[in-house]
């Protein structure tokens, strides 16, 4: 357990390493990490609870965390604290101490604290709290073994355990006791009575509904009357906890002279400045993009020739005697499909690493801060900016990344908007088609398309927020952690996990659908022009003709549903085979007017998300209604914009 930014994941990673398993809490979209720790002969099962500031009912993460502790009664709860921010961190400890599970405090980031001049006396802290306190520097693997030893000792009952939880402020003590008397005897197992009474006073929505069910009506009326008289009691409860924290901190912490300007403040002068901050952000993001394509592009090319190409050749050779369709299936269906997914790995690797570094350093919080002004016009939180930015790499982790948003409404809106962020796959299609029609101005066209997507994103956000959510706003409260040097281990593990989830989700789905599409294009006659797929393309022709696009272009659009880059392959197949002797690009250039090509690109950029993104959208929203809505919305928007572009381009070009 721990508040955000305390290095909890670093500790968890150190203890569990690669034995980590990332999943979901049952029935929820909150990530759950479990693992085993085998250090020095002892074996422990560890579960990483979501990082939360407190244990209220304000967010699903907090409820999940406290339900686990209360209902599953782990042997030990380890609370990771940041020594440099002890005052605020102790709030969570104040909430944990009254719970009936042994607590061990891991006092992390002692080195950062010392640099800031903050010295925490762990022994004093231990005495005052009544629970073991283990100083650590997780990033340097210091103190972790001690932590493991202490956990074991507590679990085996070897340590004298005497927690000293905070008491409520005097003015509310009577009310609390009154509530306690009223509810005792009716509190469902395994909830502790005192804790329930306190939560009722706090106005905890989950506990209040629980007790409303559990209490006989006349007792509930009394309880309710008390609660109504003390609606602001949460302030007294929080205040009481902070009073206690104040005493603990005064005993255990020595501070430097107040008023020192830390490095973080100096950097933030620029990073959070309304103008300079934005410029810095744009420059940083530009750098990430440049790096991604400058390094990733060549790597991608290498992968294509040496891995994909070699594999295809090998298959063709080995199956030269087998029926043609097997080789065709393997080369075009399997290798073609899975292969294109694999070629994205270098790009994603660099992109995710760069983003991971910025996040770990603490800069991303500033990015969210600077972008909040724009995000909140769309009813989004500044933090929505982070998953949306990940979408430039791939929409799949972008949709999954919306988990960091606390409000489910903001999460839904961000998920709906994420596919409008142009991912590398869509950009690949543009990179293929644009030079054919626009030659030297292809780069300008590409930039224009990206900007168009972002404008549509902003307008869609405004529109959807007004229509669906009545223009509600999300509260903007965000902690800005201290800047610190990135921890390579944490970043590497995170990049690894993101890549693996991309490969698993996008990869398997793309593979399966590639085979299906291949089948549709090969049946019933073996000739793509008369296949089932072609019939689907014909269905879209009426729409396509509004943009000057024929059935082949519409089919390419359709196949982009599987994976955006399939559009390239489809265009190749459809146009390559038609006029003998002419190259694909020439055939393409002859087949449509530049205005139509532009319309095609616009439609493609705004088109429905790829199958993997749709799959992840369903997984994150758990609602077919919203998933289908998202797809339809994008279909309408892309077609509409495509048609509009066509007519506009005809006038201008």
């Amino acid at each position: 357990m721990g508040q955000p930014n305390v290095g909890k994941s670093t500790v968890f990673n150190l203890l569990t390493g690669l034995s980590q398993h990332v999943g979901n809490w049952p029935g929820k979209t909150i990530e759950q990490k479990t693992g085993t720790c085998q250090l020095d002969g002892s074996k422990m099962e560890l579960i990483d609870l979501p990082g939360t500031y407190s244990l209220s009912a304000n967010s699903a993460e907090e409820v999940v965390a406290r339900d686990y502790i209360i209902k599953h009664r782990p042997d030990v709860v380890v609370a990771v604290l940041d020594a440099a921010h002890l005052e605020r961190n102790l709030y969570l400890v104040a909430e944990l101490l009254p719970l009936p599970v042994p607590l061990v405090v891991g006092l992390n980031m002692v080195d950062v604290a010392e640099t800031e001049g903050v010295h925490v006396d762990a022994r004093v802290l231990q005495t005052v709290l009544g629970v073991p306190v283990v100083p650590m520097i997780a990033t340097k693997n210091v103190g972790v073994q001690d932590l493991v030893d202490v956990i074991e000792d507590v679990a085996c009952g070897k340590i004298d355990y005497d927690p000293q939880p905070p008491a409520i402020r005097q003015d509310h003590l009577e009310v609390l006791e009154e509530l306690q008397t009223l509810v005792s005897g009716h509190v469902p197992e395994p909830y502790p009575v005192e804790w329930v009474a306190l939560k009722l006073l706090e106005g905890d929505s989950v506990i209040t509904s629980m007790m409303q069910e559990a209490l006989p009506l006349e007792i509930w009326d009394q309880v309710n009357a008390i609660l109504l008289r003390h609606e602001d009691a949460i302030i007294a409860v929080a205040g009481g906890r902070y009073d206690w924290i104040g005493r603990v901190v005064r005993a255990a912490v020595t501070r430097p002279r107040v008023g020192q300007i830390s490095l973080t403040d100096k950097l933030d002068r620029v990073a959070t400045h309304p103008v300079w901050g934005l410029i810095l952000l744009a420059a940083t993001l530009g750098l990430i993009f440049w790096l991604t394509y400058a390094l990733g592009g060549p790597l991608q090319g290498l992968l294509e020739t040496h891995v994909i190409g070699t594999a295809s050749d090998w298959v063709m050779e080995t199956l030269a005697d087998a029926p043609g369709w097997i080789a065709d299936l393997l080369v075009n269906g399997v290798i073609g499909g899975a292969g294109t997914v694999i070629t994205f790995v270098p790009i994603l690797l660099i992109f995710f690493t760069a983003m991971g570094i910025l996040e770990d350093m603490g800069y991303m919080a500033r990015g969210a801060y600077v972008m909040d002004r724009f995000m909140h016009l769309m009813g989004l939180h500044g933090k929505s900016f982070l998953p949306l930015f990940v979408g430039f790499g791939c929409n799949v982790p972008a949709v999954m990344g919306t988990r960091i948003l606390e409000s489910s409404r903001a999460r839904l809106l961000t998920i709906l908007l994420a596919p409008l962020v142009p991912c590398t796959a869509r950009m690949a299609v543009v990179a293929f088609v644009a030079p054919v029609f626009f030659g030297a101005s292809a780069t300008a066209v590409s930039w224009g398309l990206i900007c168009l997507n972002l404008i549509v994103l902003a307008l869609s956000g405004l529109l959807l927020n007004k229509l669906l959510f009545k223009g509600q706003r999300v509260a903007f409260i965000m902690e800005l952690p201290l800047y610190h040097l990135p921890n390579w281990r944490t970043i590497a593990l995170q990049v690894w996990q993101r890549l693996v989830s991309f490969l698993k989700k996008a990869g398997t789905l793309v593979l399966v659908l590639s085979i299906i599409v291949w089948a549709l294009s090969a049946l019933p006659s073996g000739d793509i022009e008369t296949s089932y797929l072609a019939s689907f393309g014909q269905l879209l022709v009426p729409l396509g003709s509004l943009m000057g696009l024929g059935w082949r272009a519409m089919m390419a659009l359709l196949t982009s549903f599987i994976a955006k880059e399939n559009a390239i392959a489809s265009l190749g197949v459809l146009y390559g085979g038609s006029a003998g002797g002419v190259s694909v690009t020439a055939a393409l250039a002859q087949s449509m007017a530049p205005a139509s090509a532009l319309a095609f690109l616009v439609t493609q950029m705004l088109f429905i998300p790829c199958a993997a993104t749709v799959a992840v959208t369903y997984q994150e929203t758990k609602s077919w209604k919203w998933t289908v809505f998202g797809v339809l919305f994008l279909f309408v928007v892309s077609m509409g914009m495509g048609i509009a572009t066509y007519h506009l381009a005809q006038v201008l070009l």
Partner: protein
């Protein structure tokens, strides 16, 4: 007699002495009234209007229960000291409370009433 003596004292050391007392929600009415009559130093203002570099103490939270619950958990309780780090008059602002830097939207900051204590050294 009280107003005159009170007014006399005001010019000297009263406000300095009081600003070092911590504000408690259970404080007695006389103290509160005294503070209220002290002119600028006694008025509680919205956190939004605290200039950069100034320090203040939280006096109350006004708003929906969910929001004030969250603010209170993060450290914005009556008596807590806040230090304004960034405030451009528009857009979100950054305050330091209980050693942590927190960015707040203007709407959220408006719900926190504070009592200014002057600029930090």
């Amino acid at each position: 007699m009280v107003p005159k003596a009170f007014g006399h004292r005001r010019r000297h050391t009263v406000h300095r002495a009081h600003s070092s007392n911590s504000t408690r929600s259970g404080e007695d009415a006389a103290l509160r009234k005294e503070r209220g009559q002290r002119g600028d130093q006694g008025k509680s203002v919205s956190l939004n209007s605290l200039p950069v570099g100034h320090i203040a103490r939280v006096t109350e939270l006004r708003g929906g229960r969910g929001l004030i619950g969250r603010l209170a958990c993060l450290g914005f309780t009556p008596g807590a000291r806040v230090h304004m780090l960034q405030n451009h008059g528009y857009g979100p602002l950054i305050v330091e409370v209980r050693d942590v830097r927190i960015a707040l939207g203007r709407g959220e900051a408006a719900k926190i009433r504070v009592q200014p204590e002057g600029a930090s050294k």
